[in-house]
């Protein structure tokens, strides 16, 4: 139905962001475009819609929708095609909807443009929205409802092809599952072709009929989804992707460590583009660029035909399944030490912790009600242990973290928090500084956690200056150099600004900054959710090593359940400010007791 051949997209500086991508979509089927950030996924989708940003141009290739040549159409005809036969759903529903128009008005606009046969009410019904939502404004709806409204708009044009660019990345897992179900439903009901762009293997497994794996602007492997997950793929990159994804099944094992990160658009290595990161690299790989043959772009593809059921299913890679691919270049870590036997000394004890924000109304700003962000939480964290705090957005997990670090206004926090047996909620002055030496935090977004106008060395030194006044500048410098080395960066990083580093490197910097002052407790607030999976594996390995070396306790805040199963010792599931279930990670993940935990686990894709 929609075919794309040899698409080349050139960036403003003349380099190629997409370099010869060919795809074929069929009616009623879902093609998943899988890849890490910077691979050219979104550029491919935007090229199909001819919505590339200013300066980015289609430099070659053809796209046909039926008999229609998309790249040759005049803009006027293309406009009627967009939202008509060819529709696109974007990642962030809030910015895709006009905030000052009601949902009904926006759907009506799409209907008027394309002469839809369906009424607004029917369209809303199709995407599972209630009739009363028609008169709502986008800000009155939840993220999932907004995404539904956006899909309803797209359906108004009765599209033959729907392109969904990371449609659920901004949503919670339970909502994500609903939206994915809706997309699958609509696709089969309307016999649409669906091009789903994602970085998430689980979504690819759940949604895809065919999976095209993108790396550095090229399709490196096209494979039927079931074959992919049966065999683990034939291209080393595909295989690596499968092996760097943490899961309960991989618990206690090292994740494959894929060195480096995806090269920047256009700055691609000669020969095979994956060669610098490939562990099965042969000299010829650096010379010859492999072509896409039999669905795989590799000189030495793994295995022959995907046939036998594979132990990869349960997440344990075996030598047989790896075939000629190399053994894991695994990072060593202290997984072998029986952590159950570690000292049972309690480091952090939380009793009945509440964070209540006052809701103020009226002229005199009287408190009319309270928002109970954290509502009576009890937790215990031992030395050297990892406690995962799991929950969806708005469940209060970040408020809890901020309360523990005393970043929350004191008036909003009640309860007891003991660190090393000392009550910390009423600390002041120099004793508060002692707390800050013991507990530090690593944030989710590595791009906002470092001051963009401060050199890395100064950023790292800041904590030392404030909390380790006994150190002189030479000692501080020594400590910073030691920590930079420890997280895999070197001294040359110090005079540079954060923008010169990739997301993964920045997260290492943030970890180094927190570790410089040698805390006992590190709060990790979704430390890997902004990172690519291959980089996530590196950061997780680093965290493991550091924990083994320093006996650190981690409070690991996340919404990613497979990650919890892989990484945490114990887990506490949080909903609406309360802990609904807590226990050893393995048992909670394997046999959840609380309905909410069960729902969360059932929603996790893959």
């Amino acid at each position: 139905m929609l075919t794309l051949r040899d698409l080349v997209v050139s960036l403003p500086d003349g380099r190629h962001g997409v370099d010869g991508v060919s795809l074929a979509l069929e009616a009623g089927r879902c093609l998943v475009l899988l890849g890490e950030s910077g691979c050219g996924k979104s550029l491919t989708a935007l090229s199909l819609m001819r919505l590339l940003p200013e300066g980015v141009t289609i430099a070659g290739g053809q796209a046909h929708l039926g008999a229609q040549d998309l790249f040759a159409l005049p803009e006027r005809r293309m406009r009627s095609l967009r939202g008509g036969r060819l529709a696109m759903v974007f990642q962030e529903p809030m910015s895709s909807l006009n905030p000052v128009m009601t949902i009904a008005a926006q759907i009506e606009e799409a209907r008027a443009a394309h002469g839809s046969r369906q009424t607004v009410a029917e369209l809303l019904d199709d995407v599972g929205l209630q009739p009363q939502h028609a008169q709502s404004y986008p800000f009155q709806l939840s993220g999932g409802q907004r995404q539904r409204a956006l899909i309803a708009m797209m359906l108004a044009g009765e599209p033959e092809v729907l392109i969904a660019d990371e449609p659920t990345t901004a949503l919670d897992v339970t909502v994500q599952a609903q939206i994915l179900r809706l997309l699958r439903d609509l696709q089969s009901r309307r016999a649409m072709a669906l091009l789903l762009i994602t970085h998430d293997l689980g979504i690819a497994r759940e949604m895809g009929d065919t999976v095209a794996v993108l790396y550095a602007g090229q399709v490196v492997e096209t494979v039927a989804a079931q074959d992919l997950f049966a065999s683990g793929g034939r291209h080393p990159y595909t295989r690596a992707l499968m092996q760097v994804t943490p899961s309960l099944g991989r618990r206690g094992q090292p994740l494959l460590s894929l060195p480096g990160s995806v090269p920047l658009a256009g700055a691609w290595p000669r020969g095979c583009r994956f060669a610098p990161r490939c562990s099965a690299v042969a000299p010829r790989c650096r010379e010859a660029s492999p072509a896409l043959e039999a669905g795989v772009r590799c000189l030495f593809p793994v295995g022959a035909a995907p046939a036998s059921p594979d132990p990869l299913q349960d997440g344990v890679p075996s030598r047989a399944a790896l075939g000629s691919s190399p053994s894991c270049a695994s990072a060593s870590f202290g997984a072998a030490t029986p952590r159950e036997a570690a000292t049972e000394a309690v480091l952090l004890e939380i009793k009945n912790l509440c964070v209540h924000y006052p809701l103020r109304r009226g002229l005199l700003q009287r408190t009319v009600d309270w928002v109970r962000a954290v509502d009576g939480v009890d937790l215990r964290l031992n030395r050297g242990e990892t406690l995962a705090l799991v929950g969806e957005s708005g469940c209060g997990k970040s408020s809890l973290a901020r309360a523990l670090l005393r970043l929350q206004p004191a008036a909003t926090v009640r309860g007891q928090v003991r660190l090393n047996g000392e009550e910390i909620l009423n600390l002041r002055g120099s004793t508060l500084q002692t707390l800050r030496r013991c507990a530090q935090i690593v944030f989710q977004d590595p791009f906002s956690s470092l001051d963009p106008r401060m050199r890395v060395g100064d950023s790292l030194e800041e904590g030392l200056q404030a909390l380790r006044p006994e150190m002189d500048s030479a000692a501080r410098r020594q400590q910073i150099e030691r920590m930079l080395k420890r997280v895999g960066l070197d001294v040359s990083a110090m005079p540079r600004y954060p923008h010169a580093f990739s997301g993964g490197q920045r997260q290492r910097l943030a970890i180094a900054r927190a570790l410089c002052i040698e805390p006992q407790l590190l709060i990790l607030d979704e430390p890997t959710s902004a990172l690519d999976v291959s980089v996530q594996a590196q950061v997780l390995a680093l965290l493991r090593e550091l924990q083994a070396e320093h006996g650190l306790a981690y409070l690991f805040i996340t919404h990613n359940l497979p990650l919890v199963g892989y990484f945490a010792d114990r887990v506490a599931v949080m909903q609406g400010g309360k802990i609904v279930e807590a226990g050893a990670a393995e048992s909670v993940m394997a046999a959840p007791q609380h309905p909410y935990t069960q729902a969360l686990l059932a929603s996790a894709p893959g």
């Binding site: 944030f443 977004d445 906002s448 956690s449 001051d451 963009p452 106008r453 800041e462 600004y497 943030a510």
Partner: protein, 380 residues
């Protein structure tokens, strides 16, 4: 040898203090590798270098015009040396040919005759109406009282620079301190500061300034003994104007900074700094201020041109600089009548416009180059 007495007006002192501060900064920056590299970035771009040269030209004119002295007058022997009441500057001394070459009234650029015809008694006793010949060639013409326009424009540079920089100097501490504090601390601090600037903003700006200037004027008139020369008096009036403009002009920038700080204070790196126990003051200075610096630079440079023009508006209502002080505002203000004349006298306005344009454009481009060089996202 000419016997002179150096005279330091208050604004001269302020200007030289400012220059000294810049000098100290340059001395410190030269010793720091990072700062040197950054400033090299400013001058690396073609526009940055050109803008810097033009700015340097204007600033050196301003500095030369701030080195004041009085010339000795003939004093009977035995008495203490007396000095002229007229305060001159080094610039005046350099421009003596222009300064002293005055005509009776208007003349066009490079004209050989005055603009206005006069009844002249010719040698044969008949009376003819013709434009008298002028005594000197004036490249930019002369104004109503026959002063050379180029000389006036060059003298106006100091006034413009002073109003621009001194007002900014008065305004910046208020705008930064109050704007950052309101955004960062929130709560009652924010409320109090917001009430303050909303109140200030709700009074029409020109009226507030005019009222304040008139109060100052009354004080100046009541204390004639404070001043030993007309220049000192005009100078104080100029300083008062800068202070008043600064005290009333900080609200816009403060509001901008408050909004940006509100956004910044929630960012992770501020939270991280707080988790390190860094004090609020340090966070504001080290994390917030550098990250709003681009806003400050942009709005200060834009305000600079606005202030020079505000001076013209105030001259119109009679609350600007002293009418005797050469200033672009006074020149523009005079142009109201000149443009209504027949034939039109366009050159004072055109000169003021060209000088202002060059000054403001150079300041803008230079500020842009500085901003780009200090932006870590720039190429480096």
């Amino acid at each position: 040898m000419i016997n002179i007495q150096p005279t330091v007006l208050i604004s001269d002192a302020v200007l030289f203090l400012l220059l000294a501060a810049v000098g100290v900064y340059i001395w410190r920056a030269r010793r720091s590798e990072n700062a040197r590299a950054t400033w090299r970035g400013v001058f690396a771009s073609g526009t940055g270098r050109w803008a810097a040269w033009v700015m340097a030209f204007f600033v050196s004119i301003g500095v030369l015009d701030s080195l004041h002295f009085r010339v000795a007058v003939e004093t009977p022997a035995g008495q203490a040396q007396q000095y002229s009441g007229e305060v001159l500057s080094v610039l005046d001394a350099i421009l003596t040919p222009l300064r002293t070459a005055s005509e009776k009234t208007y003349s066009a650029p490079f004209a050989t005759t005055l603009l206005v015809k006069e009844s002249v008694t010719l040698a044969d006793g008949s009376v003819a109406r013709l434009a008298p010949a002028i005594t000197h060639i004036h490249p930019l013409g002369t104004d109503k009282v026959g002063q050379d326009v180029l000389y006036l424009a060059l003298k106006s540079v100091r006034t413009g620079l002073l109003i621009g920089t001194l007002t900014t100097l008065v305004m910046l501490p208020f705008a930064c301190a109050l704007g950052l504090a309101a955004g960062y601390f929130g709560g009652w601090v924010d409320d109090a500061i917001q009430y303050l600037y909303t109140t200030l903003n709700s009074i029409p700006g020109v009226l507030l300034i005019a009222a304040a200037v008139l109060v100052v004027d009354v004080q100046i008139d009541a204390h004639a003994e404070w001043f030993n020369s007309a220049a000192a008096r005009a100078d104080l009036r100029l300083l008062a104007l800068c202070a008043i403009l600064g005290l009333t002009g900080w609200t816009g920038l403060a509001r901008l900074l408050r909004a940006e700080t509100l956004k910044l204070r929630e960012l992770d790196y501020i939270q991280a700094a707080r988790a390190f126990g860094v004090s609020h003051g340090w966070i504001l200075v080290r994390h917030v201020l550098p990250n709003v610096a681009h806003l400050i630079i942009i709005s200060v440079v834009l305000d600079f041109s606005g202030l020079v023009l505000a001076e013209a508006v105030l001259s119109y209502v009679g609350a600007g600089v002293d009418p005797a002080t050469p200033s672009f505002g006074n020149m523009i203000n005079a142009a109201r009548l000149e443009l209504a004349r027949e034939p039109v006298v366009w050159w004072p306005l055109a000169t003021a416009f060209a000088f202002l344009f060059a000054l403001v454009l150079a300041a803008n481009l230079f500020a842009d180059a500085v901003r780009a060089a200090f932006d870590p996202r720039g190429a480096r």
